[in-house]
């Protein structure tokens, strides 16, 4: 009995100790992010000139200019994610299979170091290649690929390239993490059993790295959806993006109610589109599986586990 009481006291003291340790971070998180997010959502239900709860702010998000901006952001986000995937998947394979084990971490650090300098400075450094007196421009001009009047800035392709430059670590790390955990013996087995390199990739490596691809894809689309600095500085600011709408509403017009509706509407759109693409991909694989063999793990398309 006494022992049981001592046990209970000790246990509850443990819990209290844990409670005290956890509180600062929890309070910080709740007071500065979670509650204010609720406040922001609450504000989005009102307009400046009326006192009733209304969806007017959300309705105005579907107007032509707003819809166009959100569409631009969606296109930008998915093109960036696709380009990042096409760039990072081979890169992760190269790092894992062609570089000595001891050097891999150093190589990754070396590749990601520029991305730890400063976001705006990374964009700025591209000016040294892209401006009309920059290196890349001169080289392309020397090769006769560009004529005198043209410019590399204010160009959609270049915008995507710089977006990839800014965001590829978010794709590279999760994919590399998955690939580095593949047991090399499985690949040996696959080769010994007569699979070609392509078959090994399609049937072994890709199914085993699907989780990393999924989380990389999720993070890259989410972060690049909010982007407005790259299109403005590199793309010449020709088109408006979702980020521009947010900036305009919050910083220029100081209309926090409309701005918060824009924020929540945009996040809703990107999340819904991610779900939609997931469903479409799953359906496509299902249909394809009637014509070609698709590995079970790919067919299930389970990113979570």
């Amino acid at each position: 009995m006494v022992q049981y009481v001592v046990y209970l006291v000790k246990k509850s003291f443990k819990q209290e100790f844990g409670f005290v340790l956890a509180m600062p971070a929890v309070i910080w998180q709740i007071c500065f992010l979670l509650l204010p997010a609720l406040v922001l959502f609450w504000r989005s239900l009102f307009t400046i000139d009326s006192w009733g709860v209304t969806l007017a702010n959300y309705v105005s998000c579907t107007g032509a200019t707003y819809a166009a901006a959100i569409y631009n952001s969606l296109v930008l986000a998915y093109l960036t994610a696709l380009a990042c995937l096409l760039f990072c998947l081979p890169l992760a394979l190269v790092i894992n299979f062609h570089i000595k084990r001891e050097l891999r971490t150093a190589v990754l650090l070396f590749l990601m170091m520029p991305s730890w300098t400063n976001f705006i400075i990374r964009i700025y450094s591209w000016f040294f290649l892209l401006r009309n007196d920059g290196m890349l421009f001169r080289i392309l001009q020397g090769l006769g690929l560009l004529n005198a009047g043209s410019s590399l800035l204010a160009n959609q392709v270049v915008t995507i390239v710089v977006m990839v430059y800014c965001y590829f670590p978010y794709m590279l790390l999760p994919i590399y993490n998955c690939i580095s955990n593949i047991n090399p013996r499985i690949l040996e087995a696959s080769g010994d059993l007569g699979a070609s390199s392509w078959q090994t990739f399609w049937r072994v490596i890709l199914p085993l790295s699907i989780k990393g691809i999924g989380s990389g894809w999720l993070v890259v689309t989410l972060v690049s959806f909010g982007e407005f600095a790259v299109p403005e500085l590199i793309g010449g600011g020709k088109y408006a993006y979702w980020g521009n709408l947010v900036v305009n509403n919050f910083l220029l017009l100081s209309d926090y109610n409309a701005g918060s509706a824009v924020i929540f509407f945009g996040i809703l759109v990107i999340l819904a589109s991610l779900l939609l693409i997931y469903a479409a991909l799953k359906l496509l694989l299902l249909v394809l599986s009637h014509f070609v063999t698709i590995p079970q793990k790919l067919l299930r398309l389970n990113f979570a586990d």
Binding site: K14, F17, G18, F19, L21, A22, P24, A25, V26, W28, I30, F32, L33, L34, P36, A37, V39, L40, F87, P90, V94, H98, I99, T105, L109, F110, L111, P114, S115, T117, N118, F119, I120, R122, Y124, S125, F128, R131, D133, G134, M135, L136, L173, N177, S180, S196, V219, V223, G226, A229, E232, G243, V246, F250, Y256, G259, S260, I263, I267, I270
Partner: protein, 262 residues
Amino acid sequence: MIEKQFWRWSAWLWFAFTIVFVYAPVVAMVVFSFNQGQSFGGWEGFSCKWYQQFLGSEDMVHALSGSLLVGCLATFFSVILSLLVVVASKWWRPWWLLEIFMVNFVVPEIFVAVVILNIFVFLKIQMGLISLVVGHTLLGFGTAVPLFRTAFSELQHALLDASLDLGATYLQTLRYVILPILKPSIIYVAFLIFSLSMDDFFINFFCSGVGFPTVSTYVYTTIRAYVDPSLNALSSSLFFLSLALVLLLTLSQSIDGIFSDD
């Protein structure tokens, strides 16, 4: 055999392309920060005058020291607080305790920035150092909590129980058992959060208020207005800073296996 050769060559080609892609802009920037003239691509002789101008410019030094201050404070708060919350989860763990920090990583950064902007304006608190540290610490939670969580779950929990059973207090266990074991990941996480804070644009853009310039906001407003070669000196200095940090991290031997789970 030929196929193997082909894959090997294309692998090295891709790797070389990557190195050029990642380093060409940065190297060009560093090289031309020593340029005599104002050109972004025409070499006019070596000179350090832009560095002198950068160090002589009060605005730039202000912006740089502001960024460094915010980075240090945010690193301090987010490392300590997330370490505490992860350790606490051993003894007190409602289901939501660690999950609420996943939000910070998953929502677009612009959302976090706007939420903080809104609450500071709503409560009529002057924005500046405080709002920036608050925001960067929140960003830090998103990185630090998952990383510490992995590191802490790999730690042998029998050691903690043994330490407590042998009469150490909780604080002694924290100080003499947990901290030494987690030291490599603490160093790595601190480095990562400091870099994230120096790297950040959105929170700086929305939450720095009027009186507290940082590197991001300063460079952003300047390059949209005019060409100022002393910016190249500022940018290159920041690059050297992160180079130095990466070298320190490599030397501190805490990097083994940080990018893979095994």
